[in-house]
């Protein structure tokens, strides 16, 4: 809004200045011709002209230089339009003159002076408009050096205005020198024609036309102004004369040179436009392929984009993309060719025993055109094939076809092979991303499994009349399959279990939940331990996959008889502290893990044992994570150390025993990071 007001103000002021110029100039001329002493100083019109120039300069600066929305053709159009208006106005005056005929008025020098001023005003306007437009064009791709030169040029011209206003005598002899310097700088600046390259074919034609007409207008205006000055001749004693005005002259020369240069450069660039456009399209296509990974949701669109862009870039008549990799689903994408035609060509080449061509393990682009010549009934005479690699593995072939013989040149070959490479990278990236997503999903799954596993372990353990129980379970990053539980069968009988499911992750958690189900359903009925194991095995063999098993110990503690019955199925042996003997030892027994023997003969591999306990005895059950924990010297914690620990803390409560054991374990391994699952179940008998 503000700029608009300023441009309007500048324009109005410029017109007012021009009117002032006319008034002062004519009055001076009139006075002199009548032999009177003019009331206005002779330098006043010159200053007013220069103010007019400055005002217009800033007017166009706001109008053209600051308007970001103008493109190259718009700029040329602005100059053309301004030139057109100026020419039309100038012609209208001539026409009026012609209508009036050679009267006294038209030959009167004051009238001629007046028309000269009109033409001068119009010419300055057109020149400044062109100057600003050319400035935009020249500075389209700017360097520091170019900007400096331009600023020097512009300021130099401005300073010359002051010089013109007062015509200092001491610089008069440098007149040619200064003008020459401006022309030279103008010439150097005119070498900047980079914008031409960005015009497309149509724009270039439009530009040529606009520039031609602009040049025509410019010369018409120059000639008109020049001829009026000449006809004024001697009468033009004191008035304004642009032919001695450095600013206007330099401007005329610069604007004309740049217009002619631009015209010629565009003209000579016309034939190569298509090449430039093609290059630009290649870049855009290349970007499309590399960006397809971010925008496209599947590999198929990457393949389609590759095929489409390759065909359009090398002006192929048809093409296909065959995905044949070992791990890929066989697919053929075609473009302007039927599947049958494509398969005919593939077959033909295979029949001709063309080695390593349209099949796997070719490692470079091949021109197969010579083999195509022998295929009857095919419209294609040129063919190029490109391998596509993903992670160093050839997954397919891109083939491009032309109806012309020798239709592909080296350049095209290079470009498409780059495309093929980029497509390979895009697909690779795409797959990596998929994998990352899969991993993320897997992690999420593990989290769920871990929560499930945690929830399967009992919150509270059943304490017996004459024993205390404590348990501890910690699992590493992955989900483990350690399980323990207790169940009170009646007043004096309690069932206990500790189990370790082989494997990790969701399946382990799943098997653990099965084990929990088995324990809670079987233990209810006061079952004998070996019977428990037999039934559990029978139940588990139907759901444990090949190679998976569960190790477990099942206890039945009878507080009345002070008797423990148990069966160990492949689990770590029980560590027992016998208070009477005051020693800790491992109970000897035999038993195969659940799921290992998948028939009724399992009863031969499981053993039920029993012993009576005394107050102060301690029973410690654990999983192999404890004994297999390693220290920095790669030594295992081992059974002996475990027995020692128990012996040291034999009089403590189960909770304390467990705490001491774990702290000793961390001490031993020298780190807080466990890389296995630790589980202990401790029972201490009391009175």
């Amino acid at each position: 809004m503000r700029t608009k007001a300023i441009t309007r103000l500048l324009f109005t002021l410029a017109i007012l200045m021009w009117l002032a110029l006319v008034f002062t100039d004519l009055s001076i001329s009139f006075s002199i011709s009548n032999g009177l002493r003019p009331e206005i100083a002779t330098w006043v019109p010159k200053v007013i002209l220069n103010i007019y120039i400055v005002l217009l300069f800033y007017y166009y600066r706001f109008k053209i230089e600051r308007d970001e929305s103008l493109n190259f053709i718009d700029l040329l159009w602005r100059v053309f339009a301004t030139g057109l208006i100026a020419t039309v106005l100038s012609l209208v005056i001539r026409f009026l003159e012609y209508l009036i005929g050679g009267t006294k008025l038209t030959s009167h020098f004051l009238y001629q002076e007046f028309t000269y001023l009109i033409n001068l005003g119009l010419m300055v306007s057109v020149l400044l408009c062109a100057f600003m437009a050319w400035k935009r064009l020249i500075l389209y791709q700017k360097s520091k050096w170019l900007i400096r030169l331009w600023i020097a040029f512009e300021y130099g011209m401005m300073i010359s205005l002051i010089y013109n206003s007062f015509s200092f005598p001491f610089v008069a002899r440098y007149y040619e020198f200064i003008l020459g310097a401006f022309v030279l700088v103008g010439l150097v600046l005119s070498g900047n024609m980079k914008w031409v390259a960005y015009l497309n074919f149509r724009q270039k034609w439009t530009g040529l036309l606009l520039l031609l007409l602009t040049i025509f207008y410019l010369f018409y205006i120059f000639l008109t102004s020049g001829s009026i000055i000449n006809s004024l001749g001697d009468q033009h004693t004191v008035g304004i004369d642009h032919t001695y005005h450095i600013f206007i002259l330099s401007l005329m020369i610069f604007v004309s040179i740049y217009s002619i240069f631009s015209f010629l450069v565009i003209l000579f660039n016309l034939p190569t436009t298509s090449v430039f456009e093609q290059k630009l399209e290649e870049v855009v296509n290349f970007q499309r392929i590399s960006q397809s990974i971010q925008t496209e949701q599947n590999e198929e669109s990457v393949y389609n984009i590759l095929l489409e862009t390759s065909v359009s870039t090398v002006f192929a008549d048809a093409g296909w993309l065959e995905i044949t990799g070992d791990r890929e689903q066989h697919r053929v994408y075609t473009y302007e060719i039927t599947d049958k035609e494509a398969s005919d060509i593939i077959e033909h080449l295979a029949k001709r025993n063309v080695r390593g061509l349209l099949e796997q393990n070719q490692d470079k682009t091949r021109n197969l055109s010579k083999h195509l010549a022998t295929l009857k009934g095919s419209r294609f005479r040129s063919i190029l094939a490109y391998p596509i690699y993903v992670k160093g593995e050839n997954i397919g072939t891109l083939a491009l076809l032309k109806e012309l013989p020798e239709g592909f040149n080296k350049e095209m070959n290079k470009i498409v092979s780059t495309f093929a490479n980029q497509a390979g990278i895009s697909i690779e990236n795409f797959r990596l991303m998929e994998e990352a997503l899969q991993n993320e999903r897997y992690k999420e799954e593990l989290k769920i499994a871990k929560t499930v596993q945690k929830s399967l372990l009992p919150q509270v353990l059943e304490q017996g009349q004459d024993f205390e129980v404590a348990a501890f379970s910690e699992s590493a990053d992955e989900v483990g399959g350690d399980y323990y539980d207790t169940l009170k069968i009646n007043d004096h009988q309690t069932a206990l279990i500790i189990a370790d499911v082989s494997g990790k992750g969701t399946t382990a958690a799943f098997h653990m939940s099965q084990m929990k189900g088995i324990f809670h359903s079987l233990a209810q009925g006061c079952i004998d331990p070996n019977e428990f194991m037999l039934r559990a095995n029978q139940a588990l063999i139907h759901c444990l996959e090949r190679g998976s098993f569960i190790s477990a110990i099942f206890f039945l503690i009878d507080s009345q008889q002070k008797l423990v019955k148990y069966a160990r199925a492949g689990h770590c042996p029980i560590l027992y502290y016998n208070k009477t003997e005051d020693r800790a030892f491992y109970l000897k027994d035999k038993g195969v893990a659940l799921g290992m023997v998948r028939n009724k003969s399992y009863q031969d591999f499981i053993q039920q044992k029993e012993f009576t306990y005394k107050p102060g005895d301690v029973m410690l059950m654990f999983t192999d994570g404890i004994t297999e924990a390693k220290n920095q010297r790669n030594e295992q914690f081992g059974n002996d150390r475990l027995a020692e620990v128990l012996y040291d803390v034999k009089t403590e409560s189960p909770r304390k025993i467990q705490e001491r054991l774990i702290s000793r374990l961390y001490e031993f391994s020298g780190t807080d990071n466990i890389d296995d699952d630790y589980t202990t179940l401790i029972v201490r008998f009391k009175n």
Partner: protein, 111 residues
């Protein structure tokens, strides 16, 4: 990491296990035994003298071949285990199900 060396001796396929068998390397063990069985060997010797550690997944591999060996009348004997490894087999009760001997000579006799 496990490295499996394979050679044939007196009509028996001998697989020497060198290193440790954990969840990931148990796949290699499985493949090696599967190949041996697939090639029709009826006598398979597993040399465990350089086996330093075996996890439950590795034990699972041996376990999974017990029935197949019985069906196809293949005799598979493991020998030369160190104390730790032997202990792991014993705890699980696999020593009841598999033929395990101390030396290679004993193992050959069992074939």
């Amino acid at each position: 990491m496990i490295h499996i060396k394979r050679l044939q001796e007196d009509g028996a396929d001998v697989l020497a296990l060198v290193g440790e068998i954990d969840a990931s390397s148990s796949i290699d063990l499985d493949l090696a035994i599967a190949r041996s069985v697939g090639e029709g060997f009826t006598k398979i010797l597993i040399d465990c003298s350089a086996l330093e550690y075996i996890s439950s997944a590795g034990l699972g591999v041996f376990m999974s071949y017990i029935e197949e060996c019985k069906e196809k009348n293949i005799s598979m004997v493991l020998f030369g285990m160190n104390k730790n490894v032997a202990n792991t087999f014993e705890i699980l009760g696999l020593n009841e199900l598999l033929q395990i001997t101390a030396t290679k000579a004993e193992a050959k006799q069992k074939l």
